[in-house]
Amino acid sequence: MYQVVGQKSLADSIVMLDIEAPAVAAKAKPGEFVIVRQFENSERIPLTIMDFDRVRGTVTIVVQDVGYSSALIAKAREGEAFVDFVGPLGRPTEIENYGTVLCVGGGLGIAPIFPIARALKEAGNHVISVLGARSKDLLILEEEMAGVSSEMVIMTDDGSHGQKGFVTHGIQSVLDRGVEVDVIWAIGPMIMMRSVANFTRPLGIKTIVSMNPIMVDGTGMCGACRLEVGGEMKFACVEGPEFDGHLVDFELAMKRAVFFKEEEALAYTRVEDEGEGN
């Protein structure tokens, strides 16, 4: 069992959890993910690593209540435990000194962008973080991101904080200042990553996205997470989760992501009834 040793609400329906998993914490690197199974009857779901503490032996994940499994995980409290917590999985981010980089995080995607921004900053990059959310209330980890970024650009859809607009507008505002951007990391909802990729493709700025498709085992065994990247089939779990955003077939990925929507909805009706996880 893997104990929940820290729990903090970041926004409405978004929760940060510290999980005791020393073996995972010892090896975790930015860009990697874990597979979590909360209860005996739960699904195995992939969650990107937000942070890790090798001394305390903990791994931090951030979860938003968007479906049956995530709703139950978001309800987890200190003292509870997960039956399985597997990782680290996937290929880590390739950290080096690229020069000037943009770390673009949208919504929940700010959580996985955090360790990447920190590592890029430590590697000597000038890190400009562009964070987006629907509104001020839903913008998470602003302070943490400020601590690992050289510059910050905040975007909200409704203009309640920072500039009004999407993260692509934020990227545009950076470029308008004449900043030469070497590489962009963009993590967030699929539709946001597609927008960023479409925006940067004609500009020829290398853009890396982190895909979070449906998975079962997370070790290359099932192929549920397959994507089309540059016309080739790729397994996000072992060949990703990061890919060249200009080559990812987002249309396909979005369709695959909602394949089990009906089943998900059916299961979700059970969250209220059986919230304790039976």
Partner: protein
Amino acid sequence: MAAKVPRHDMPCQDPAIRAKNFAEVALGYSPEMAIEEAKRCLMCKNPRCVEGCPVGVDIPQFIGEIVQGNFLGGAGVIKSKNTLPAICGRVCPQESQCEMKCILGDKGEPVAIGRLERFAADYEMAQGGCPMEVAPSTGKRVAVIGGGPAGLTCAAELARAGHGVTLLEALHVVGGVLMYGIPEFRLPKIVVQKEIEVLRQMGVRIEVNQVVGKVASVDELLAGGYDAVFVATGAGLPYFMNIPGENLGGVYSANEFLTRSNLMRAYDFPRYATPLRIGDRVAVIGGGNVAMDAARTALRLGAETVSIVYRRSRQEMPARAEEVYHAEEEGIRFALLTSPVRINGDDKGSVVGMTCVRYELGEPDGSGRRRPVLIEGSDYEMPVQTVVMAIGQGPNPLVTKSTPGLELDKRGNIVADEETMATSKPGVYAGGDIVTGAATVILAMGTGKTAARAIDVYLRKGKSL
């Protein structure tokens, strides 16, 4: 005279009933049936059946015990060579191993060795099992990577020899293909877990959720106090056909399909949260045991029609005859000499059908089987909502890629000495599908056993013992 008694059939659940449940199909012999079947054995002085067994079970001896009504004794004879008899009695392809060599088979039907093995093992299990004897501790430690048939067998043999064994499993349950792949109706999971419990009693330490290559590397295990490592990570990477439409929703690899159903218990959704959507019409591509398992699972999950789509003929099918027979009895259809060239979807990205082509048999190919030759202009539409790709698996690269100095063949399998299963890396042995490519449970067990013997010698001689 004994030979004139016909082979005793195994009682099975009625096909119409079992096609709707996940309970075991084959019900097993009663003690009376087992004794009668055992009496058919001629007790050959030079038993050919034993040569046909990859782990060398003394078959006439265990059958002799059953004739005497000493079922526990029979189980003991088997277990001295085979650590997982209740599993092997169910899933070994006896017809191409021990039973193929049985002299009764020359003129009639061979002794039902597999069924007798299962009977003895089940009998012992029902009695609470017999503790396995373990040699005094050698103080040596071995890490076994992968908890499938090869890893379990190697772990048991090493523990029996007195070595300290840690079994590292990537999934949350140990058993490998026995748990995620082979369905409940063919191999009840309680049987697998009971056999694994014996390993625990022998002192094998089992650690789940350990993805070696990510959480620790082989080199780190060797540096961290293990004297040897056995790699048995299996054939984990599913193959696809590389045809258009394969990424549509509703196309599963057999691994995904079976893992959702068997390991994650999607058949009990939503009590278990893992979903598995089945259309009314299901096509399973492939002709092996995995294809049969997937097809029969789809039927039990509520599909109206399930078709095996295979590009050669019935004769070339690699599945066991018994599995094909059971599938057919349950109403699985066979679209033989047929293969999809494209999977078609709707605007939501879900499967609505396959465009298939037909073949005829030509000259034998490299595998000795007649090559399927395309019939020009034979393409037709097959309406289906679910497609399961059961065309084989390749080696999982997580361990091999993170282990420098490990020689691989061009397909990515580990190169290991046949006699010892030693790899190019000192102290590292390998077995099962990661060496042989996708094969059978018993073949994997055979390599695990061979490796255990060699590791035992290595630990006693190679180090300061």
